[in-house]
C-alpha cells in the first residue's frame, strides 16, 4: 500500500501526552466493553475496582503489599533494559533468590532473630545474582543471546525447584510439593499488622531509589546507558560491553532475586512452585510502560498493583473475573507503546508504488 511511516523531526510534549491520553482512554473503553461482555454493570465494576484498589485504608495497604514484588522486578528490568540487555529471566531469578534465601534459612540453626532480614536480603540478592551471572558469562565468552539463555534458565530453575520441593525440601510425610511453614522468627518484620504490610515494601522503595542512583550517578550506570543508547560509539571509546552486560545482569538478577526472597519471607511463608504468579513478566511490562525510567516505574507499579488488588473486590462485588485486569495490563502496554510510535511518526502518501 502506498503509505508508510515517516519519523517526525520534532515531537511536541503535547502530542506525546495526547497520545498517552488517547491510549488510556481506549483501554478504558475496551475494558468497559469486556465488563459488559461479562454481563456486569459497567459503573459498578469500575466503582468496585476503585474501591478495592484505593477506596479505604485497608485497600490501600493491600495495594502496597501487592505492589512490592512487582516494583522490585520492574526495577530489575529497568536496570537491564536501559542497556538494551534483554533479561527475560526475571521469573527464574526471582525463584533463585527465594530458593537461596530459603536454603540458608533451612540449613542454619541458632541464628538470632534479628539477623534474619539481613540474611533474607543478602540471600535473595545473591541467589538471583548467580542466575544473572550465568547468562552474562555465556554472552561474554560464547556470544549466547541473552534472551535465549535467560528464558532457558527460567525453566531449568523451575524444574530444579520442583525437584527440591518433591524431595529434600518437602514437608515430611506430605503429599504436596511444598516446604514447611517458615518459622515466625524468620518472617520479615511487619510495618503494619493488619493487613500485613511487611518490610519488603520499604526494601522495594529503597531498591527503586538505588536503581535510580546507579543509573544516574554511578560510573557503571553511565556505561549501561551508553551501551544501551549507542553501542558503537561506546566501543570506539573503550567501554567494555561484555563486562558491563555481565555486571548489569548480576545486579538485575539480584534485584529480582530480592523480590522472590522478600515475597517468600514477608508474605507467603511457604515455598511452593506458585510463589510468583508472573511477577517477573509483569515487572517487564511495567518497565516498558515506564519508558525504562526507575522513578516512573514506581507509580506505574502502583498502578498495576492497584489494578491487581482492586480486581479482587471487583470480582466479589460484580462477578467480573480478575483475569480482566491481566488483559487490561497487556492492552495498556500495547496501546501506550503503539501510541507513542504513532505520535512520533506520521503517515505519508508515498510518491510511487512498488
Amino acid at each position: 500500500m502506498p503509505i508508510r511511516f515517516e519519523k517526525r523531526q520534532h515531537v511536541g510534549r503535547l502530542r506525546q501526552l495526547a497520545a498517552i491520553g488517547i491510549a488510556l482512554a481506549t483501554s478504558l473503553l475496551i475494558t468497559a466493553i469486556l465488563v459488559y461482555a461479562a454481563g456486569a454493570d459497567v459503573t459498578a465494576a469500575f466503582a468496585s475496582l476503585y474501591q478495592g484498589a484505593i477506596g479505604d485504608k485497608t485497600a490501600l495497604i493491600n495495594t502496597l503489599i501487592v505492589t512490592t514484588p512487582i516494583l522490585l522486578t520492574s526495577e530489575a528490568a529497568v536496570l537491564a533494559f536501559r542497556g538494551n540487555i534483554w533479561n527475560i529471566g526475571l521469573e527464574g531469578q526471582l525463584y533463585a533468590g527465594a530458593m537461596f534465601a530459603y536454603w540458608i534459612y533451612a540449613s542454619t540453626n541458632g541464628i538470632p532473630a534479628g539477623f534474619y532480614p539481613l540474611i533474607i536480603i543478602l540471600g535473595g540478592f545473591i541467589g538471583g545474582g548467580i542466575l544473572g551471572f550465568i547468562p552474562g558469562i555465556l554472552k561474554s565468552k560464547f556470544q549466547v543471546d541473552v534472551i535465549i539463555s535467560t528464558v532457558m534458565l527460567n525453566y531449568v530453575i523451575a524444574y530444579f525447584l520442583d525437584f527440591l520441593l518433591g524431595s529434600s525440601w518437602r514437608v515430611p510425610g506430605s503429599f504436596y510439593y511444598q516446604t514447611a511453614l517458615i518459622d515466625e522468627k524468620a518472617d520479615l518484620p511487619l510495618l503494619i499488622n493488619n493487613p500485613p504490610l511487611h518490610m519488603g515494601f520499604l526494601v522495594a522503595l529503597i531498591m527503586a531509589g538505588a536503581v535510580y542512583i546507579i543509573l544516574k550517578w554511578s560510573r557503571f550506570g553511565y556505561k549501561i546507558r551508553a551501551i544501551g543508547e549507542n553501542p558503537r560509539a561506546s566501543l570506539f571509546k573503550g567501554i567494555n560491553a561484555a563486562r558491563t552486560i555481565t555486571i548489569a545482569l548480576i545486579l538485575s538478577g539480584g534485584v529480582a532475586g530480592l523480590a522472590g526472597a522478600i515475597e517468600l519471607f514477608g508474605l507467603r511463608h511457604r515455598l511452593r512452585s506458585d510463589l510468583s504468579p508472573g511477577f517477573g513478566w509483569t515487572g517487564m511490562m511495567i518497565a516498558m510502560l515506564a519508558g525504562r525510567d526507575p522513578i516512573i516505574a514506581i507509580p506505574a507499579a502502583l498502578f498495576f498493583g492497584a489494578l491487581e488488588n482492586g480486581s479482587l473486590k471487583m470480582q466479589i462485588t460484580t462477578g467480573v473475573p480478575t483475569s480482566l485486569v491481566d488483559v487490561l495490563q497487556a492492552l495498556v502496554v500495547f496501546l501506550i507503546l503503539g501510541s507513542q510510535v504513532i505520535a512520533n511518526y506520521r503517515l505519508r502518501r508515498v510518491a510511487y508504488e512498488h
Binding site: 461482555a37 534458565l153 483475569s323
Partner: protein
Amino acid sequence: MNINAFLQTAILINILASTLRISTPLLLASMGELVTERSGVWNMGCEGTVLMGAFTSFLVTNKTGSLIMGTLAAIVAGGLMGLIMVTLATTLKLDQTVIGMTLNLFASGLTVFWYTIAFKVGGAQSYPSIATAEVVKIPFLSKIPFIGEVFFSQKLLTYFAFLLVPAIWYLLYRTWLGLEIRSLGEYPRAVDMRGLHVNRLQYFSVLFGGMLVGLAGSFLTLGSSDLFIPNMSAGRGWLAIVIIIAGNWQPYRILLVTLIFAFLDALQLQIQGVGVQFPYQFLLALPYIFAILVMMSSRARSNAPGWLSTPYNRED
C-alpha cells in the same frame, strides 16, 4: 528397576506412541514459527498463540459441537495473533521481544477471562469438557504388529504434523515464495532492491506461521485433553522456539530434535507412572540445557536468519 518389566513391549509401544503424540503440537508450532523466523521476525508470542489456539478451539467446539469448526477457530486465532505481531513489529517497528512477551500475557489473561464468562451455568462456573478427536487407524497399516500400533494409530492432526515437515521443507527450498521468505530473513535489502514486496512477504510469513501455531494449540484440547485449563500451553510455545534453535532452523533437524524432546517427555511420564525414584525433572530440564549448549557452539548458530529480529528501514 525391573528391566524386564520396562522392556515389555507394551510399555515400549506406549512410550513410542506417546512420543509421536507429544511431538504433534511441537512440530506444528515449530514449523509455523520456523516460517515466521525465516522471514526475519522472532515471534516470542509463540506461547501465547498456542494458548489462544487451544482456547478458541475448545470454545468453538464446545459451542458448536464440531471439531472442524474448532480447528478452524484455532487457525484464525493464531492468524490474528500473528497479525498483531507483524503489524506492531513491521509497520510500527516496536521491539519484537516486548511485543511477544506482551502477547503472551495478553493471551494468558484473555483466555482465562473469556473462559470464565463463557461457561456459566445459572450463575455458577462450569467446567465443561468436549469430545476429543478420535484416533484414526490407517487401514491395513495399523494392523502391523508393533509398528502399526506406534505409527499408524494416531490422530489425524498427528499425521498432518509429520507430513507438514517435508511440506514446509519443500515450501522453503523449492518454491519461489520460500526463496523470497528466506531471503527476507537473511537480508531484506536484497529483497527490496530486486523490486519484491517486502511488507507483503513479511505479513504473509508471520500470519501463516501464526496460523500453524494456533493449530498446534488446538491439538492440546481437541486432540488430547478434553478440558481447558489455564495456561495449558505449559511452555510448549517456548519449547518450539528452543527446538528451532537446536535444529538450526532446518526442517528435518527440527523434526529430529522434536522427536528427541518428545521422547524424553514420554519417558519421564512413564517413569513417573511406574513410580521409579528418579529425578524426572532433570529429563524435563534437558531440552533447555541442551538449547544453551547448542547456542554455545558457534557452528550451530551459523544458520540463524541473518536479519532475525531486526526491523528493515529502507533509508538505512
